[in-house]
């Protein structure tokens, strides 16, 4: 039951990240999706190494989101791909 709920949360958050207009909103949904993916990993692999893998992915996705959030306000006029 938990895996279905988490899967629905992940797909919903990914779609909302794609659709959202504001960039700060996009970061919020990205974080929620990362937490749900690490929970789904630790429910799918029910061994200690699965727990270590989920912890690693949790830390890595938080670091990546933090790096993106730090550079959001720094880029002013962006170069668009035509």
């Amino acid at each position: 039951m938990f895996m279905e709920i988490l899967g629905i949360i992940i797909i919903l958050m990914a779609l909302r990240t794609l659709i959202a207009q504001d960039r700060a909103e996009r970061m919020l949904y990205l974080n929620a999706m990362g937490f749900a993916i690490s929970a789904l990993i630790v429910l799918y692999i029910q061994t200690p190494f699965g727990a270590i893998m989920a912890i690693t992915y949790f830390i890595a996705s938080t670091l990546s989101s933090n790096a993106i959030a730090y550079s959001i306000g720094r880029v002013k006029k962006e170069i668009l791909v035509k």
């Binding site: 895996m3 794609l18 789904l40 992915y57 990546s64 002013k76 006029k77 962006e78």
Partner: protein, 92 residues
């Protein structure tokens, strides 16, 4: 009814959503955000095939790739602004 929702299908859906986002969104930082989503789907796909060591290596190296992309975006922005100011100075 909901048995088809497991790690494999969810990761594949997340990969496809990230791919569509990278292709359609025009701004570079949005592209990097969608790349972070695609990395999540990629790691989920590797874990669904139970290659946990490969998944751990991918999870460790993904933030490094994101940080290198962000450094490139901000640096090319600075260089282009600097060149623009120099050209304006020459004209004046």
């Amino acid at each position: 009814m909901l048995e088809w929702i497991n790690l494999t299908t969810v990761s594949a859906a997340v990969l496809l959503i990230g791919m569509v986002g990278i292709i359609t969104l025009p701004k570079p930082v949005d592209k990097v955000i969608m790349l972070a989503i695609l990395q999540g789907g990629f790691i989920g796909t590797i874990v669904a095939a139970k290659y946990l060591d490969v998944a751990m290596a991918a999870a460790i190296f993904d933030p490094i790739a994101t940080i290198i992309f962000l450094i490139g975006i901000t640096k090319i922005q600075d260089i282009r602004n600097q060149k623009h100011e120099e050209e304006e100075g020459n004209l004046a």
